[in-house]
């Protein structure tokens, strides 16, 4: 099937009645969950996965994509109103969004956020449409060594770019990898670390890990902070209107950050959080009035909001065309694909054009819905922030329990969920980042397979990774990314000396 036909099929799916309905459900739920402080896209996607069991895969994935970018969109609301970002990708939004709200211009801030998110989202979907098929056709020639190298690069990128200590991020990734080795080995049939328990033969389901490390760990944090932060701290909304001058001010950051954010989203390891920070910093640097930043600057709000939404669509490029997630969130998204029996990768575009193009085409509609949802309805939707903490905690636990129970219909997985909740909470307290864990866990099986297939081809010689130019260059990039934190460390030391 030609690519134009494929695009048309995609739009047909997206603009069908069901297509529109499921995009709407997806972005609505995503906005809701993303708005809740602490619960980000990972929890949102994980909670929604059980609902897709038995659904048509195309519609299910269209909905899940909506949940993902909806959650990023929703996160900005709590950043602006409460100074409590719902999602790490919207932390930078609070820098100028919250001061604006304090000045009684919360409505205006929400409107600026909604419009820049819309622009960032829409421009990057166009870029996604151009880049994803091109990358797919290149990636089709990749053999196991190149795939192994790609995943290796993704893992090193996320560990070196994650917050705090790189050693801790690496430890987190290694343990995630270790957990992935539990179960029957796909190549030899050997049982590994199952302790003879039949429930562990298939390995641990990724939903157990995702909901434990993210949703339940967040519940623990919520329990500790259950008395802080309520909607009473939130400011009055005020008018949503934006003046012509403000629109003019937004134009620059929106154009630049749409492209920059998209690019950062495509690169492994970066994603919405880093894109929003870099977007904020670059706009501050090139601004004629940098002193306004942090005090309610229009540009300072438009930049991170454009960048994080652009990065979200950018992250779909490696996911759809290579089948390799570059971040914790897209790793969970990959899990959602696999649960539905869809293997993303270079063959997806030719084998299932309705899924490949359907998801992309649905993003146009999703972004329009988000704009509509967020502009006139925001005062009503933001009422969700009024849910009392005790009820919220109980309900999040209930959703996690349903999600995990519906995978295998046994309580063994639920006890594991509880265990990973505790692990996730301890990781938070001791500052071990969780995204490398979930990415390594999901990539683990694929990486091991690619590694062993490569060595089977080469009869056990590691030289295969050096002989293949693509694999070699990716491995070099992977190793080089470790230099990044090292350089940062050295620079900091120099500063201390000065």
């Amino acid at each position: 099937m030609g690519s134009i036909e494929g695009v048309l099929t995609g739009f047909q799916v997206a603009f069908s009645m069901e297509g529109i309905l499921f995009v709407l459900i997806g972005v609505f739920v995503g906005t809701f969950i993303g708005m809740l402080p602490g619960l980000g896209p990972i929890s949102a996607i994980a909670v929604m996965i059980p609902i897709t069991f038995g659904m048509d895969p195309t519609l299910a994935l269209v909905m899940m994509a909506g949940v993902y970018y909806g959650a990023i969109f929703g996160g900005s609301t709590s950043s602006i109103l409460l100074n409590a970002p719902g999602v790490s990708g919207t932390v930078a939004t609070a820098f100028d969004g919250y001061p604006m709200a304090q000045q009684g211009k919360a409505g205006k801030a929400l409107a600026i956020a909604a419009i820049s998110s819309f622009v960032g989202g829409t421009v990057s979907v166009i870029l996604l449409m151009l880049l994803a098929p091109a990358l797919s056709s290149v990636a089709i020639a990749f053999g196991p060594p190149a795939y192994f190298a790609l995943m290796f690069m993704g893992l090193t990128a996320i560990t070196s770019l994650s917050e705090g200590s790189t050693v801790k991020a690496l430890i987190s990734a290694v343990i995630g990898f270790m957990v992935a080795t539990i179960g029957i080995d796909a190549q030899t049939g050997t049982q590994r670390f199952t302790f003879g328990n039949a429930n562990l033969l298939e390995g641990i389901d990724f939903l157990v890990i995702a909901l434990g490390l993210f949703a339940l760990a967040e519940v623990c944090t919520l329990i500790i902070n259950r008395k802080d932060l309520s909607i009473d701290n939130a400011h009055k909304l005020g008018s949503l209107r934006i003046t012509k001058n403000e629109l003019k001010e937004m134009r620059g950051p929106m154009t630049r950050q749409s492209f920059l954010g998209f690019l950062l989203g495509v690169l492994p390891g970066a994603g919405a959080t880093i894109a929003s920070f870099i977007g904020y910093i670059t706009e501050k640097k090139i601004s004629k009035k940098p002193e306004e930043f942090g005090k309610g600057s229009v540009k300072g709000l438009a930049a991170p909001e454009t960048a994080n939404n652009a990065a979200t669509s950018g992250a779909f490029v490696p996911l759809l065309s290579l089948g390799i997630p570059g971040s914790g969130t897209t790793a969970v998204m990959l899990g959602a694909f696999l649960v539905l029996g869809v293997q993303p990768g270079p063959l997806l575009m030719t084998d299932h054009p309705e899924i490949f193009w359907g998801i992309i085409a649905s993003m146009y509609i999703g972004n329009v819905f988000l704009l509509v949802l967020n502009l006139p309805l925001i005062p009503y939707i933001s009422k969700i922030l009024k849910i009392p903490r005790p009820l919220l905690i109980s309900l999040v636990i209930m959703f996690s329990v349903i999600g995990v129970y519906a995978i295998n219909f046994n309580t063994f997985d639920l006890y594991l969920l509880l265990l990973f909740g505790v692990i996730g909470f301890l990781m938070r307290i001791f500052r071990f980042p969780a995204p490398p864990f979930i990415l390594a866990f999901i990539l683990g099986g694929m990486m091991e397979q690619a590694f062993r297939q490569s060595l089977t081809i080469s009869n056990g010689s590691l030289a295969i990774f050096i002989q293949e130019p693509i694999a070699l260059s990716l491995l070099i990039v992977g190793f080089l990314s470790f230099m990044f934190p090292l350089v940062r460390l050295l620079r900091n030391r120099k500063k201390e000396r000065v």
């Binding site: 430890i171 080995d185 030899t188 590994r192 636990i397 329990v401």
Partner: protein, 152 residues
Amino acid sequence: MLKSINQKISIVLIVVAVGYLLLAFQLPSFPYSPVDADVLPKGLGVLLILLAIGLYFSKDTETEAEKEQRRIPKKDIAALLVVFVFVFLYIFCLEWLGFVLSTAIFIFFCSLYLGYKKHMTNALVAILFPLFMYVTFTELLKISLPQGILPF
């Protein structure tokens, strides 16, 4: 001897890694594969030990703010443990009492314990939410949740 928290964590990690390695060395071998099932686990075990040693000697000390974040009041630890026990009992009773009943009891008492004072709202949420989820899953999505002792 173990001054910083990182050093304590690294000891725990080394214990985990050694345990994992001991298990990895017991994996049966399979003669017809260039890379056997035990290669990767062994590599990971060794890697974790190396990283833990790296963590032990790493110089990054905690800032005061980070330490403060780690300090959880005893009252909150107790709250965490109680909720933990609640969830444990909830899972334990899930298949026996059924989804609707056990979830309703869990939501009501968990919210009550955490300080929710509006008992009527609490009871309503505790009954309506599980019912709604149960009907959605079993009727709309055709995913059966445990029925338990209730007749429907």
